[in-house]
């Protein structure tokens, strides 16, 4: 469901009006549907320099049934078939001069990109470069991707994947994510892979089949959507929320065939009880989604200790305590995934949210610091940082603030809870093993904190 303005802007009279008045023209985003095609059209794959990933990229596309066309040239047939995706392998760049090839490839190809198209650029992490010139060229990809994200229209996105030497086997999962409708509201972002033992394949329709996934804060909003998507992807969901939210929690659990666990995650024995529950009922756990979060907004000078402490306890300390308890226990299964919900506020800051932003920034530091520990176990820990997501909470915002807030991004609309859920479900997949310690923004390339 798109918001009212997006619906209006895509209606007959709305199209004319918004064009003539120069108003934002958000596209109706292409979102993932089980059984649907990876892309809405064919793809082209190009290189800048002697890249090493072109074959991998082509294989991912062909395996998903996508037609891969030859690159078009600058003066090529602009009226040719519209493209679903444009993928550039820039792992071969050794200096800025090599980027000319990137421009030569991208310009005519992007011109033919259809609505809800995808641009994905792959290169090595700048920090691994052999020379300043190489680092400059790799870092340039970041500016190129972000700017292209802002230029694309009608629901199309541009994202980058940074692939160090030795991490090539981890490309397929993230590439498929950025091409698919799962990443509808992820735009202008970069994900850095790390070397890991990545399974070659997974069940395309049920990537989480047989997995036990805990979702905290699952009674409503984004948490309920996460539970829905995890269950759709095959996981048994243990839906957790405070006892007072138990009736809506039970409704979520019954809708998705999961189980409800009423638990205040800030209780002193919460981690022990969760571990005990997982051992007794499931023998172990594969995915933990730390989604539960609260806001207690006030300007810092007016904020009492209770507001500060409660936000820290729920949003950060509980994530630390439960993750520690799981690492210390015998219930964390091999290849486990921990996904923590951060926030745009944790990156950009937000007036009246010193407590909230502090807790959410803390989450980003936490996953980065814990990544090596998880890597040693063949597990991962990552975060997602939602931007403006349309929920019951945003529905209560004043009209002006809400409508402006929803447009301040390249996709010119607010995201939906399902967009956050899809990103979390992707990070939970077996083939996401190469993504570790990352914070992925789900913000439509928000102007805030970019």
């Amino acid at each position: 469901m798109a918001d009212w303005y997006t619906n209006f802007a895509n209606s007959g009279v709305g199209t004319t009006l918004t064009k003539q008045l120069g108003l934002p023209r958000p596209g109706v985003l292409r979102r993932y549907e089980p059984g649907g095609p990876l892309l809405p059209g064919p793809a082209v794959v190009g290189s800048a320099g002697q890249g090493r990933l072109r074959d991998t990229v082509t294989a991912v596309l062909r395996d998903a049934g996508v037609t891969v066309l030859s690159p078009v040239v600058a003066d090529g047939d602009a009226a040719g078939e519209k493209l679903g995706a444009v993928v550039l392998d820039a792992t071969g760049v050794s200096g800025p001069a090599d980027l000319a090839a990137a421009h030569d490839f991208l310009a005519p190809a992007v011109k033919r990109l259809r609505s809800n198209g995808r641009v994905v650029i792959l290169t090595d992490p700048p920090n691994d470069a052999d020379s300043p010139a190489q680092a400059a060229a790799r870092q340039a990809v970041d500016g190129l991707t972000r700017s292209l994200g802002k230029e694309l229209r009608d629901g199309s996105t541009a994202n980058a994947i940074y692939v160090p030497q030795g991490a090539e086997s981890g490309v397929a999962g993230p590439l498929a994510f950025f091409l698919s409708g799962r990443s509808a509201y992820v735009d202008g972002q970069g994900v850095t892979l790390s070397a890991a033992d990545v399974p070659g394949t997974q069940d395309a329709e049920l990537p989480l089949a047989g997995k036990v996934a805990v979702v905290t804060g699952a009674a409503r909003g984004i948490g309920a959507s996460i539970a829905d998507v995890m269950a759709r992807d095959g996981a048994h969901v243990v839906a957790v929320d405070i006892p007072a939210a138990g009736d809506s929690l039970a409704a979520v659990a019954n809708r998705i065939g999961g189980t409800a666990l009423q638990l205040d995650i800030t209780a002193p024995d919460a981690a022990t009880r969760l571990v005990e529950h997982l051992r007794e009922r499931h023998g172990g756990v594969d995915v933990i989604v730390h989604n539960a979060g609260i806001t207690r907004d006030k300007l810092l000078v007016n904020m009492d200790a209770a507001r500060w402490n409660s936000v820290m306890a729920v949003n950060l300390q509980a994530q630390l305590d439960i993750t520690t308890a799981l690492l210390d226990s015998d219930v964390l299964n091999a290849g486990a995934r921990v996904v923590c919900v951060s926030s745009q506020s944790g990156i950009a800051g937000n007036r009246g949210q010193t407590n909230y932003a502090a807790s959410k920034a803390g989450v980003i530091g936490m996953v980065r610091a814990w990544a090596p520990t998880f890597a040693e176990r063949g597990a991962t820990i990552n975060a997602v940082a939602p931007g403006f997501i349309v929920t019951e909470m945003t529905a209560k915002m004043p009209f002006g603030t809400r409508e402006v807030g929803a447009r301040l991004n390249s996709l010119q609309q607010g995201g939906l809870p399902v967009d956050v859920a899809e990103t979390i479900a992707w990070l939970s997949q077996p083939t996401s093993a190469g993504v570790n310690g990352q914070t992925v923004r789900v913000c439509g390339q928000s102007l805030l904190g970019a």
């Binding site: 007072a244 409704a251 019954n254 007794e280």
Partner: protein
């Protein structure tokens, strides 16, 4: 000689339970029907144990106050729940013993191998209570319905008198004595010389125990909120003997009256359900076994002519059950004596301590003796939670099973529930 021993039977396991918070009459659930409450309770149980679309062997529940339209209440609740529609169900009714009796029936079928799993429950509302038309009007309406001609119909209608339009209200009174249950309990309290202060102390302890249990999260996996209520709204965590001492007696007459609104249970709405299974079924479904239902017993007393108190039947049921199991009254780690009235609990215990009563009435050589009060209703009982008649048994069974499980293997608990009509239902659970 032929082998006359019973076939080896197994003990039914208690897997867990669910209830909605109990609400004082005409408060949070004023607009909820028995079916609404029972369905929500079943759905909460399904969510807790992942039983969506599952077929359990049988669902057995009941209500004490029941509308005529609810003739198939439990089956209708099952059909409205997320359980498989192919799950059979039936209603029972044994007054306040309904919930515990339902658990016994399910447990017995499991023990016999007739079913592998089952849900026992109970529900009651005194807010959405059935009203009946008086017998006179009812007869007129039936003749009207049977009338063949317009003349017959008019003749029937002409028999209606204004006085017949007053409906029959359901009353909490015994049909054979016309006395309210509280008045009966007051007679027993006087007979056993139960003081006001000890009743108030028991009531206060019930509130404090239950409030503490909520605080430490004991009810997190036993209760699911309903219609905005997250805890029993009869619960008074700040209750004190001083406050209770200010209340005027409501049952009994004159100077000796001791029973107040605080040391008697209020009219309450609510529902509860317990999941029982064979050990094998529980293991197959990855579900815990909290305790087993070891044995149960019912008894009834002649409160009309026999000189025994209306609510004293459990006093008789317990020794029979203890003897069958080779146990003494002291062989238990927890005692759950339903607090219909504080005085009922106290009279029950006093009777078991009384050598003359135990000899003459129970036919025992020695009194059953006293109960360690620190093991009695340790997480509160009906005086704190309230008492939706048929839902109390399920509340007690699930809570006691969890207490026994937490205490470790081999622990034993006694349940004693008194019921209208001079009946009593008791049971033993063991972890």
């Amino acid at each position: 000689m032929a082998d006359t021993s019973k076939p080896a039977s197994r003990k039914a396991a208690i897997v867990g339970g669910n209830r909605i918070p109990f609400a004082r009459s005409n408060t949070a659930y004023a607009q909820a029907s028995n079916q609404d409450m029972l369905t929500a309770t079943l759905d909460g149980l399904v969510a807790r144990f992942g039983l969506q679309g599952a077929q359990v062997g049988e669902v057995v529940a009941g209500a004490v106050l029941k509308h005529a339209r609810d003739f198939n209440l439990t089956r209708e609740a099952v059909l409205g729940s997320t359980l498989a529609a192919a799950t059979p169900a039936y209603d029972i009714q044994q007054a306040c013993g309904t919930g515990l009796e339902a658990a016994i029936l399910v447990a017995n079928k499991i023990a016999l191998g007739q079913i592998e799993s089952g849900i026992a429950g109970g529900v009651d509302t005194t807010s959405d209570a059935p009203l009946a038309v008086g017998d006179d009007l009812r007869r007129v309406l039936i003749s009207l319905n049977n009338a063949k001609t317009m003349g017959d119909r008019l003749k029937a209608l002409a028999r209606i008198r204004p006085g017949q339009l007053v409906p029959d209200m359901p009353r909490n009174a015994e049909p054979r004595t016309g006395l309210a249950m509280g008045d009966h309990a007051a007679i027993t309290a006087k007979e056993w010389e139960i003081g006001r202060e000890e009743q108030d102390e028991l009531a206060v302890r019930s509130h404090h125990n239950m409030a503490a249990a909520y605080e430490r999260g004991f009810f997190d996996d036993l209760v699911t909120p309903f219609l905005g209520l997250t805890r029993d709204n009869n619960l008074r965590p700040d209750s004190s003997v001083e406050k209770l001492a200010t209340l005027k007696p409501v049952f009994g007459k004159g100077e000796g009256a001791t029973m107040t609104a605080a040391n008697s249970t209020p009219l309450t709405d609510g529902a509860s359900a317990v999941l029982l299974a064979s050990d094998e079924w529980a293991a197959e479904h990855g579900l815990p076994v909290l305790a087993h239902l070891v044995d149960a017993q019912t008894a009834a007393v002649d409160y009309v002519h026999g000189g025994e108190g209306l609510l004293m039947a459990p006093v008789y049921a317990v020794p029979a059950m203890l003897a069958r199991n080779g146990l003494t009254l002291q062989d238990f780690d927890f005692y759950e004596i339903h607090e219909a009235f504080a005085s009922t609990v106290l009279s029950t215990m006093k009777a078991w301590e009384d050598p003359a009563f135990c000899k003459e009435k129970l036919g025992l050589d020695a009194p059953l003796g006293s109960i360690d009060r620190s093991k009695l209703n340790v997480n509160g009982s009906s005086l704190a939670a309230g008492h939706p008649f048929a839902a109390t048994g399920g509340r007690i069974v699930a809570s006691l099973a969890k207490m026994l499980h937490e205490a470790g293997p081999g622990k034993r608990g006694l349940i004693s529930v008194c019921a209208a009509g001079g009946q009593g239902v008791v049971a033993i659970l063991e972890s």
